[in-house]
């Protein structure tokens, strides 16, 4: 009963039938030795009695069938106990009728004399005389001869089911017909084969057996088996030693040897031992792996062997018993051999001796291998693994995301810093304005731009306070956010710094929609454009300078002619004045003639004055003026200026001016410069034209109502093909001493007057230069 409960307990924990023998063994290891003391034994006897009492009560009620189990040895032998327990379990589970199971220990290992046997037989007859067993099961080979000899003493002709009987014993006994059972043939050959497979390199073989009766039988079996094996070893038989001597010799076995342990029921001094216990102590000291043909040793440190499982023997014996109880004639039930033999190994021992699992024969039962949770609960485990994996993935993803976010944040920060730095380096201040909160954010550089103190609060008013009063309106509009969403505005304003310096700042503002079309944030940049502005002013100044220089250079070219233009009136004036003097010197001066002379002087002086005036205009530096210019007058006055030059160059000039007043808005000096330039070009182009053909025609036409065309036509060489398209480029010239700026300037000037300048070749030869100017409607009284 106690055994059962222990077994069950272990069954529950280990979840495997295969491990049960070991656990029972373990139980005996722990309690076995102590069990020899009276206290434990008393307890078991007490439980056994209680069990018997229960069965007795039961049989009275339902006439139970009786089974008597006879153990050959005492209760310390695991093999018989295992068989008994398995058989009992099977019987109780499978019997259709109530059963009474009794058990007795014959203890034949220690008591071998015949007197003891007959006394035990007497005891059993006394004990079971009233309650005759229906079947006797013998456990352990020694119990079978006993029952054969004393069956009739105990229960005449009772059917017997034996277990753990070697074929030799079975054959020797020549059993009566109603005795059947399980023959156990220990296959040492196969155990040795296992050892050979696991240790293919091993060359030495040690065989251990004791000096008991069974031990001696094993000795001869072993010698015979080893001799029959194909593989030959250097064999050492450790037989008939004292326990201590054996231990000593085993300790010195080389590491790569095979140790075959059989049984050790007794040493050479006749001391009894429990073979399983000996197996444990041998395994503890042996450097080489141990193999054995007994299942009970497995778990006590040996590697394993080809063994019979005692449970299977017990179960099979119980089945035979049930058949007999059911009325089957025992004589018809043939004895069975080895119902459950198999290769069995202890995984822990294999690992301890570094043996390869892959070397095991097929269908080997590997015991004590840590069963993985996987094999037991694949579903739960896979689910768990899945969950853990998912969680890991999620955690990893979160970590990655966190890292990315950190990196992105870092990048953002870096980018932000870079942008701020770049903006500051480019003299740009960044700002944003939240209209709802009326808050302004701006980079520190804005302070520098607006000359604000280090501790001053950056606000819209602070910025506006620095703006030049004339530009305040523009600045306010820019910063006020009166813009429509997605609209941008630019205004250039002047900033007055605390030290009085004025700087130009360009305010760029852009309004971002907040959704729903409402303007939300207003943002933008401040750029210091002082240098740009001063550069622009510088360029404008330089352009005026260049224009002036060009005029001066043109006039320089014309200087002779222009001098002539002034000289003529001066000549007339001088001659008239001197004529008057001569007339006055006469006795009766001709006053009419003198008056004429003086009038001429006045006229010629005016004429000279006009030339000087025109010259002064051309020579003067100055800003571009916006005045009404009469285009026809402009042409005429220019032609007058060129009169002498034309004569000097033998060029005929013709004017064809439309009889209308063309007024255009602009600078007469600059426009005259354009005309002068074009006519000078025309003259230069005719340097190699035969004198008789030298001709310039200047026309004005108001073909379209809004524009007046001024056309200068010559009979020169025309525009050379390779120059076409480049004539307006700066510094492009075909003249030997030209600067290449004349036409560039003309084009600039005409464009500044909203006009157009074109230069084409005339089909009849020569070139035509046309510039068009917008017509200003003549004002009344001005025309």
């Amino acid at each position: 009963m106690r055994c059962q409960s222990v077994v069950r307990l272990h069954f529950d924990h280990s979840n495997g039938d295969l491990q049960a023998p070991f656990l029972v063994n373990l139980y005996w290891c722990i309690f076995g030795v102590a069990g020899l003391s009276g206290m434990k034994r008393t307890r078991i006897v007490w439980w056994s009695l209680a069990l018997l009492f229960l069965y007795a009560a039961e049989s009275r009620a339902a006439e139970p069938r009786r089974v008597l189990m006879l153990h050959a040895f005492n209760y310390t032998f695991p093999a018989t106990t295992l068989i008994a327990d398995a058989a009992r379990k099977r019987l109780l589970e499978s019997s259709p009728q109530p059963l009474e199971i009794d058990a007795d220990f014959l203890d034949l290992a220690r008591n071998t004399d015949a007197e003891y046997e007959s006394r035990i037989a007497m005891f059993l007859r006394t004990k079971y005389g009233k309650r005759t067993p229906d079947v006797v099961i013998t456990l352990g080979s020694a119990a079978l001869p006993f029952i054969v000899r004393h069956r009739d003493d105990i229960a005449p002709n009772v059917p017997v089911v034996f277990t753990s009987v070697s074929p030799q014993t079975h054959n020797a006994l020549r059993l009566p017909a109603n005795i059947t059972g399980i023959i156990s043939e220990f296959n040492l050959d196969k155990t040795l084969a296992l050892a050979e497979r696991l240790q293919p390199e091993a060359s030495r073989l040690f065989v251990i057996a004791g000096s008991g009766e069974v031990d001696r039988r094993w000795q001869s079996v072993a010698r015979r088996t080893i001799e029959d094996r194909e593989r030959k070893f250097e064999v050492t038989f450790l037989f008939d030693r004292s326990h201590a001597k054996l231990m000593e010799e085993v300790e010195n076995i080389p590491r790569d040897a095979i140790v075959l342990y059989l049984t050790f029921f007794a040493d050479n001094g006749g001391n009894a031992f429990v073979p399983a216990e000996v197996a444990r102590s041998l395994a503890a000291v042996s450097p080489a792996p141990l193999y054995a043909p007994y299942d009970t040793y497995i778990g006590n440190g040996i590697v394993g062997g080809f063994v019979e499982t005692f449970e299977s023997v017990g179960v099979r014996a119980a089945d035979m018993t049930l058949q007999i109880l059911a009325g089957k004639d025992p004589a018809t039930i043939a004895p069975q051999t080895n119902p459950g033999q198999a290769y069995r190994v202890d995984y822990r021992a294999m690992v301890g001796w570094k043996l390869q699992e892959s070397n095991l024969p097929p269908h080997t039962a590997v015991l004590f291998k840590e069963t993985s949770i996987w094999s037991e609960h694949p579903g739960i485990v896979s689910a768990t693994i899945l969950i853990v994996a998912l969680q890991t993935i999620v955690v990893a993803a979160l970590l990655i995301q966190r890292r990315r976010r950190l990196r992105a944040e870092n990048l953002l920060k870096e980018s932000d810093e870079r942008m701020t730095f770049a903006a500051a380096a480019a003299n740009i201040g960044l700002w944003q304005f939240d209209q709802h909160r009326n808050e302004l954010w701006a980079t520190e550089h804005c302070r520098t731009l607006f000359g604000l103190a280090r501790n001053a609060r950056l606000s819209r008013d602070a910025f506006l306070a620095a703006v030049h009063p004339d530009d305040l309106q523009n600045a306010t509009q820019s910063l006020q956010g009166s813009l429509q969403p997605e609209q941008s505005a630019i205004s250039d304003v002047r900033i007055v710094l605390p030290d009085g310096d004025v700087r130009w700042v360009r305010m760029r503002a852009r309004s971002r929609s907040e959704g729903g079309g409402r303007p939300g944030h207003l943002g933008g940049i401040f750029i210091d454009i002082t240098e740009q502005k001063s550069a622009e002013a510088e360029i404008a100044l330089q352009r005026l300078e260049v224009e002036h220089l060009m005029r001066v250079s043109v006039l320089g070219e014309l200087s002779g002619s222009i001098a002539h233009e002034v000289n003529q009136p001066l000549t007339a004036i001088l001659s008239n004045a001197q004529a008057a003097l001569h007339l006055l010197a006469k006795e009766s001066p001709d006053l009419v003639e003198i008056r004429d002379a003086l009038e001429e002087i006045v006229h010629e002086d005016n004429r000279a004055g006009e030339v000087i005036h025109r010259l002064r205009g051309l020579l003067k530096k100055g800003e571009r003026k916006a005045e009404n210019v009469n285009v026809n007058d402009l042409v005429r006055s220019t032609m007058r200026l060129l009169n002498s030059e034309m004569i000097g160059r033998d060029i005929n000039v013709s004017l064809d001016l439309e009889d209308s007043v063309f007024l255009t808005r602009g600078d007469s000096v600059q426009l005259q410069q354009v005309l002068l330039n074009l006519i000078m070009n025309a003259m230069d182009a005719m340097a190699s034209t035969p004198m008789a053909q030298r001709f310039i025609l200047v026309t004005t036409r108001g073909a379209r109502t809004e524009m007046v065309d001024v056309c200068v036509k010559d009979r020169g060489h025309g525009i050379r093909p390779k120059a076409n398209g480049r004539v307006f480029e700066p510094f492009y010239t075909t003249k030997e001493h030209g600067l290449g700026l004349g036409l560039t300037l003309c084009s600039t000037i005409v464009k500044a007057h909203q006009g157009r300048l074109a230069l084409v070749n005339d089909e009849a030869g020569g070139a035509i230069a046309v510039f068009s100017l917008p017509i200003q409607q003549p004002e009344i009284g001005n025309a």
């Binding site: 007339a572 004036i573 001569h582 007339l583 001429e600």
Partner: protein, 205 residues
């Protein structure tokens, strides 16, 4: 002087033309003003004593060309005074080489102009006198017989009568007759005068 000294004034600038002619008239000159060189050339009379005052730079035909045309037409050197607004050296050199009296720069001072005109007047008179003288010599030479002309050539070459007779294949006496007749026809006494006369003729040719 049979006729009054006339000043031909050519300038394309009407103001200048008017002023200069007024000045010259006031001084007592006969002035013929022309604003166009072509008209001047058409109306010009070599026979009339006088002087041309020409503007150098004029459209169509400039002063230097007028001077050339004038000389080419008659062989008579009409004195020319140039006036110019520009007065560049190459032009003035060319003008002076072509026999210009003066090259005046505008504005022209009356003194300079009058001084140039009086020189021109002298030159014109001289040139006219020389011209008439030449004409009379020419007439005398043309009255000589061919033999006399031959003798003249040899005498001027410095040969003696005897040598001349040898050259011409005649006697010294005959040469003497030709020689005296030739001297008589030409109205010359000495051989030196004869040589001087022939030199003038050669010059004028």
């Amino acid at each position: 002087m049979m006729e009054k000294f006339t000043v031909y004034l050519v300038d394309d600038d009407p103001g200048v033309l008017k002023a200069l002619s007024r000045l010259l008239s006031a001084k007592g000159y006969d002035v013929k003003p022309y604003s166009s060189p072509q008209i001047f050339l058409e109306e010009h009379d070599v026979a009339v004593p006088g002087c041309a005052v020409l503007d150098v730079s004029m459209p169509g035909l400039d002063g230097l060309e007028i001077q050339r045309v004038l000389t080419a037409a008659s062989g008579y050197h009409r004195p020319v005074v140039f006036i110019t607004g520009k007065g560049d050296i190459p032009t003035s050199v060319r003008a002076m080489r072509a026999g210009a009296i003066d090259f005046l720069t505008k504005p022209v001072k009356d003194k300079d102009l009058f001084e140039a005109l009086s020189r021109a007047e002298g030159r014109d008179a001289e040139s006219r006198r020389l011209h008439s003288e030449m004409e009379s010599v020419q007439t005398k030479v043309s009255s000589l017989t061919p033999r006399e002309r031959e003798v003249l050539t040899h005498v001027v070459a410095g040969r003696l009568n005897k040598q001349i007779a040898g050259d011409l294949g005649t006697v010294e006496k005959t040469i003497k007759v030709h020689r005296s007749r030739m001297m008589e026809k030409l109205g010359i006494r000495t051989v030196a005068d004869l040589v001087r006369m022939t030199q003038k003729l050669n010059l004028s040719k």
